[in-house]
Subunit: 135 residues, 2 copies
């Protein structure tokens, strides 16, 4: 069984054609991909089908989504053991010139003190600016 199918089986998601293609596409790419990226990559697959696959994946924790400040939601396959906990996340750097998103893995996100009874679900930490190639 291929990796994509295995993951789907483990996460209890029906391994349909579109889902396998989408998941494979995400696995093949290191960087988080947007719906549009995937659509371009899988030229003959319908956008809404990809969209719905991604929603299913998110729900079943196959992938998690990232708002990197580009205006498009990006998706990345959850690594083994990822519980999609916000504290697992890291800063992202979005280059306003070349639109590339970098992960700033060196900087841990500090524990954030929330007011009483506030519950964190997720966090998006985005630094925008110019990357080394564009500055």
């Amino acid at each position: 069984m291929e990796k994509a199918e295995e993951i789907l089986k483990i996460k209890d998601v029906n391994p349909t054609a579109v889902r396998i293609l989408v998941l494979r596409y995400l696995l093949e790419h290191l960087k988080p991909q947007s719906l549009k990226d995937i659509e371009k990559g899988l030229m003959h697959t319908d956008r809404s089908s990809i969209f719905r696959s991604l929603k299913t994946f998110e729900e079943k924790k196959v992938v998690h989504s990232i708002e990197d400040g580009s205006g498009m939601i990006k998706y990345a396959v959850c690594p083994t053991g990822c519980n999609c906990d916000p504290q697992d996340l890291h800063y992202h750097f979005y280059c306003t010139k070349c639109s590339y998103t970098y992960c700033l893995l060196d900087n841990p996100i500090p524990i954030i003190k929330l007011p009483q009874n506030f519950k964190m679900q997720r966090a998006n930490m985005v630094v925008k600016g110019l990357c080394n190639k564009c500055s």
Copy 2:
């Protein structure tokens, strides 16, 4: 001279009718306001005129914009001495249930180590979850 007019003069922005109304509206509200918020508040002013005022304000550093994860850009008047430096900013908490945005002023944003030759322009740090009223 009223406060809004003063600010516009200092920041070298032509004090037109729409601009004064928009800036007054922002000054009257503590929380960052979206284009839609302002549109609702200023019932007889055209959206695109408000939009262009805000763009002008941003350019002239009268206001800065905040992406709080709500999907709508929010605008806030720059406090005196604000140079729109990303380090001046703070975390925001966006309640996914009531859509209210809170400023988490107690948590300073740490200095973020960027790779060589990366230049920060701005930062958006958003925590999403449920606020005390909704949890």
